[in-house]
Amino acid sequence: MNIFVLMKRTFDTEEKITISGGIINEDGAEFIINPYDEYAIEEAIQVRDAHGGEITVISVGNEESEKQVRTALAMGADKAVLINTEDDIENGDQFTTAKILAEYLKDKEVDLILAGNVAIDGGSGQVGPRVAELLNIPYVTTITKLEIDGSNVTVVRDVEGDSEIIETSLPLLVTAQQGLNEPRYPSLPGIMKAKKKPLDELELDDLDLEEEDIEAKTKTIEIYLPPKKEAGKVLEGEIADQVKELVRLLHTEAKVD
């Protein structure tokens, strides 16, 4: 089985994030594999171990992404492709990324593509579905279970806390939701072997893409941090007075009509 995993390097949103000059400060930020992509990698490894085949991890990013790509190889992926767009693209969006990935994948023998449900930085959840559309294959998002029998696939999908069972077939793209599996730590032998596994580094030129083919469809107007959470108010006095005060505050401060 030919398995592909779409993987993004992102900053760790559990660490402190700062903004300067309208962009997120990369100095001092910790970078990680997008956590949802870790589920995708783990699932790919489990599918390969059960059904045989080969896992290729693909990442659109920059030179720095090699660290995360190597980590995926250390976890157990067989080879990797890093499409370095650093010199060609200044402002890409989900359209850009999906177009590049699809261009790379279009002439490959694809059985299964796994991606994260969302990237925790942009949080759009678009790249997976867009790639599937461009490749004209079915896709199922936010999956929590994957069963493959020949070319028949049964998927459990998380729909806002409920489960939906979907039957479909390969080739297929799925996006991973939390709960799909428990991603493994890279093993020491995996880490030591990661450097020797094949990693292809490509640029746009290698894909026959022009910059205008992948120009972003969206524009970022402004990036800002959420407002600081302010201390709550504790009302005091008789209950009746508190209720009156609450209604007044809801009108005047919270602007509830």
Partner: protein, 379 residues
């Protein structure tokens, strides 16, 4: 000069830090209270291939370097010092002498199960009346019909309850009026071999520290490790490597204490301000950060020298001495910054202080380190 980690070292650091934060730290307080050995943690470390980290792949090891060993020991010790010493002793006291001095057959038989995590590694040197003066060994091994018959006592031996075999030192004869000390590999299930796990310790409560009693324990002559009469020289070499482990462990404990103190100082308000705004507290934290950085640099330097195959005894002693002493200072100040809360177990820092103390004692006391350094600078 290059202060960057290699790609492998960096990946090992990230992996083990995440593992330590998620799998090791959460139970540390409970294990200390209950004196419970972290067996489950080590089962997972074995699954990750960490138990044979610096040993060659052909013995089931990871083929990684000493810097990586220091990284792993620091991160584990930061989460739980008992886990840290268990790991450090397993590798540098248990595995290393077999790797350094063992025959091919001994390595296959005794090093492989250490690398796979099937058994823990241990090393029996200290005796009730032979500590710093390890040459004062009284345990004897008398040759009889192709076997050694071993009698004696060892004390304070780490990991022995969980070791299927261990190397220990014994007097095998006399040469020119001097004791001839050799190292012998002894299976712990041998007849006459008793491991007593009965100490009430100040700290490192979740680690395993034991007494060994050997009464007419018989092992084949082939269990001699290295050359006859070189047991003393061998354990000096072994301890050089072990000191890097204790240095890394001391840095890990100090870092845990410093990080807790920094966070607490920012949160704790007295006199209307965070106590981190008082210069008295700031200076403490600044000193802690500096000492940890210096200690770690020295640990890495000793490890780097060892990886380059250069002499590293002096640096190993320096890193162990410095790191263990600043670890005591930093953990003490971390308790101080926590005020009354620091004296309470739930805040962790008092445990760090108890655990740190061992690093000034084990694998050569601070006084012994100063003796080693003094000798190596030509006194």
């Amino acid at each position: 000069m290059n202060f960057d980690f290699t790609a492998e070292q960096e990946m090992i650091r990230r992996t083990i830090r995440e593992f330590a934060e998620e799998e090791v730290a959460p139970g540390a307080l409970e294990r200390d209270r209950k004196k419970e050995f972290p067996l489950e943690v080590f089962r997972k470390l074995a699954d990750m291939g960490m138990m044979g980290l610096p040993f060659p792949e052909k013995y089931g090891g990871g083929g990684a370097d000493t810097i990586s060993f220091a990284i792993v020991t620091e991160e584990l010790s930061r989460a739980c010092a008992s886990t840290g010493i268990t790991y450090s002793a397993h590798i540098s006291l248990g595995g290393a002498p077999l790797h350094l001095f063992g025959t091919e057959e001994q390595k296959q038989k005794f090093l492989v199960p250490i690398c796979t995590g099937e058994t823990f590694g241990a090393f029996g040197l200290t005796e009730p009346s032979a500590g710093s003066d390890a040459g004062g060994t009284r345990t004897t091994a008398v040759e009889e019909n192709g076997e050694f018959v071993i009698n004696g006592n060892k004390c304070f031996i780490t990991n022995a309850s969980y070791a299927k075999h261990l190397a220990l030192t014994a007097v095998t004869g006399e040469k020119d009026g001097k004791k001839e000390i050799s190292a012998i590999i002894v299976p712990t299930n041998s007849n006459g071999f008793t491991v007593i796990n009965n100490y009430e310790k100040m700290g490192l409560n979740a680690s395993n520290t034991t007494e060994l009693v050997l009464e007419d324990v018989r092992v084949p002559i082939e269990h001699m490790l290295g050359k006859r009469g070189e047991g003393f020289k061998q354990f000096l070499v072994t301890l050089d490597g072990g000191r890097i482990g204790i240095g890394a462990m001391a840095v890990g404990i100090a870092r845990a204490a410093y990080e807790k103190a920094l966070q607490y100082a920012k949160e704790r308000k007295q006199f209307g301000k965070s106590i981190s705004q008082f210069q008295a507290i700031q200076f403490k934290l600044a000193d802690m950060a500096m000492k940890i950085e210096l200690a770690r640099n020295m640990v890495y330097k000793a490890a780097w020298l060892k990886d380059q195959g250069r002499p590293f005894s002096k640096e190993a002693s320096m890193c162990k001495l410095y790191a263990s002493e600043i670890s005591m200072e930093v953990t003490d100040q971390a308790v101080q910054i926590h005020g009354g809360y620091g004296y309470m177990k739930d805040y962790h820092v008092e445990r760090y202080m108890r655990d740190a103390k061992l690093t000034e004692i084990g694998e050569g006391t601070s006084e012994v380190q100063r003796m080693v350094i003094a000798r190596l600078i030509g006194c």
